[in-house]
């Protein structure tokens, strides 16, 4: 035999104290007369005495107790304002209790299950897509390595025969001077200059592939950057004179020696000077400056060339990146020089950047940390 009264008391105690449902006793005027513990936790400890409009969200007609009771125990979705500020939607049922109405609001289990399984599915899909992304990325890296290896091998294997051609054309030019027609001498000179260009291109390709494959090794030695710049100016003076461009380098300060890779920095200086000369008009000046400030040595190569449009500056330091600006004497470029400069400088933990204005010229800046002891950060 079930003791119904004891059962009612037990259930009542459970609803009031422990049940995870909202229980509200509403007066006929809609004022909240009683709330269980869970309701007070969700809606606020001061929920009793409030009119139901302050608790139930209703964007159209105000809720009325008699109207809610008329639907009987049919569940209806209603949202309530909670202490957290986020509204909560519950499935509410309304029961007549004497002159009052009991509102019971439970979490919609179906909705919760839909939410749960939806979230789990979305999470799994995200995890699977991310895995696929990592996998494809790794495949791309492998492909890039294969490409670099191929480029390196091709450049290396091409270098020898082209070197041989360059040598032979040198011999022919020297030995046959005066014996061949002007046209034939011009052909031989042209052959020589083309092979020189190809050799430079192959050297650049070899440098880039070595850098891309992580094979760039710095041979750090204490060196005088001013001497390196002087040497670069001297080496490029022939080209500058041929184009009637003035190379101006007047060091103002003594910059102490610091650790760098002299051969690589010489390459940087040569690339920057070569670029400046390539894109400068005859009769202009290419100015080189070296300064030190707060532990950094900054080299600047400034030209009075055509300048580079701001929208194209991002292409400058990328491999094979070319802008719309062409060389003033038709010199060829494949766009590797500045990419190599950037890699070398970054390997030194330095920085390279450019200021440029169309019609006024460009200034390329290289900043290097003046490392005095190896192992310094």
């Amino acid at each position: 035999m079930v003791d119904n009264e004891a059962l009612r008391d037990t259930l009542s105690d459970y609803v009031l104290a422990d049940a995870p449902i909202i229980y509200l006793l509403l007066g006929s005027d809609g004022v909240i007369l009683q709330a269980n513990r869970h309701a007070r936790e969700v809606l606020g400890q001061d929920v009793c005495g409030k009119p139901m409009e302050e608790v139930f969200c209703s964007f159209h007609d105000p809720l009325r107790v008699d109207e809610l009771l008329s639907t009987g125990a049919e569940p209806r979705l209603l949202s309530v304002s909670t202490v957290s500020g986020m509204p909560q939607t519950r499935l509410f049922r309304f029961y007549q209790v004497g002159e009052h109405a009991a509102a019971i609001g439970a979490i919609d289990a179906d909705e919760l299950e839909t939410l749960r399984s939806g979230l789990l599915e979305a999470n799994q899909e995200l995890a699977n897509l991310s895995r696929e992304l990592y996998k494809r990325n790794a495949a791309l890296v492998r492909l890039d390595d294969v490409k670099n290896e191929f480029l390196g091998i091709a450049a290396h294997d091409l270098r020898n025969p082209i070197s041989t051609i360059s040598c032979y054309s040198d011999i022919l030019v020297n030995d046959l001077e005066g014996q061949l027609s002007d046209d034939h001498m011009e052909f031989l000179s042209g052959m020589k200059s083309q092979t020189c260009f190809m050799l430079h291109l192959l050297d650049d390709l070899l440098d880039v592939t070595a850098i891309e494959m992580g094979k760039l090794r710095l041979d750090l030695q204490r060196a005088d950057i001013t001497s390196l710049v002087r040497r670069g100016v001297s080496l490029n003076r022939v080209v500058a004179n041929r184009k009637n461009i003035t190379l101006l380098f007047e060091p103002h300060v003594d910059i102490p020696e610091f650790y760098l890779d002299p051969a690589k920095i010489q390459q940087v200086i040569d690339n920057l000077l070569s670029n400046a000369l390539k894109y400068s008009e005859p009769g202009t000046v290419v100015e080189i400056d070296v300064r030190s400030n707060e532990g950094y040595a900054t080299l600047t190569v400034r030209d009075q060339g055509r300048g580079i449009p701001a929208s194209e500056l991002h292409k400058l330091f990328t491999a094979f990146g070319k802008t719309s600006v062409s060389a003033t004497s038709g010199e060829k470029s494949v766009g590797l020089g500045l990419a190599i400069v950037k890699k070398i400088i970054e390997a030194h933990k330095g920085r390279v950047w450019v200021d440029s204005e169309v019609g006024r010229g460009s200034a390329f800046h290289v900043s290097l940390p003046m490392v005095q002891e190896l192992g310094e950060p």
């Binding site: 749960r116 789990l120 599915e121 999470n123 799994q124 899909e125 995890a127 699977n128 991310s130 895995r131 696929e132 990592y134 996998k135 990325n137 790794a138 495949a139 890296v141 492998r142």
Partner: protein, 218 residues
Amino acid sequence: MHQSQTQITEELYREYFRALVAGNRLGCSDVTKRLLDANVDIRSLYVDLFQRSLYEIGSLWEQNKVSVATEHIATSITEGLLFLAYPILFSTPRCGLRAVVACVANEYHQVGAKMVADLLELRGWDTFFVGANTPVQDLLRTLDDKKPDVCGLSVSISFNLTRLLEVIEAIGRREARLNIIVGGQAFRHGGVECLREYPWVTCLPTLDALEDFAKGRE
């Protein structure tokens, strides 16, 4: 130069497990990153940390000591932590073998199958992880497209074993010679006897068994 590999100590495991039960994603990630920085063996990470902790949480759930929500969050955290191993996993040299790994239809527990795919990847296999709840037709299309040497199927719940047999037969009709490996918690208390009629199907109940199988194929 061979770098010595760190072991997963019991103390470290417990620290990880406490974070996992608490749903503390950052705590779990911290332990995992420390292990990876200390050059932990990836296989050991998967077996002795991820798998062991998920099995332990599963056992706690069976004893009603944690909720199913805790178990789901733990699975989600673990799946997220697999990413930390991916830079190593996907950069190993390829061995030329391919596998497609999937969970049968109505199977939503995918992390075990994913670990199988990942450990094969670590051995240089090219693996294609199809995911949870894979309809038969989708799986067959993937097999046609990827032409794997092996197809791996995961079943966690024993009443999905029937679906597994349907998938095996569907694959067999399309490609009689394709090796199939199966595994999952559904085989924990038997179930292998249902595979007797399919001699080309191998049940691999543990990740160790998977290693032996893979070595035999390489």
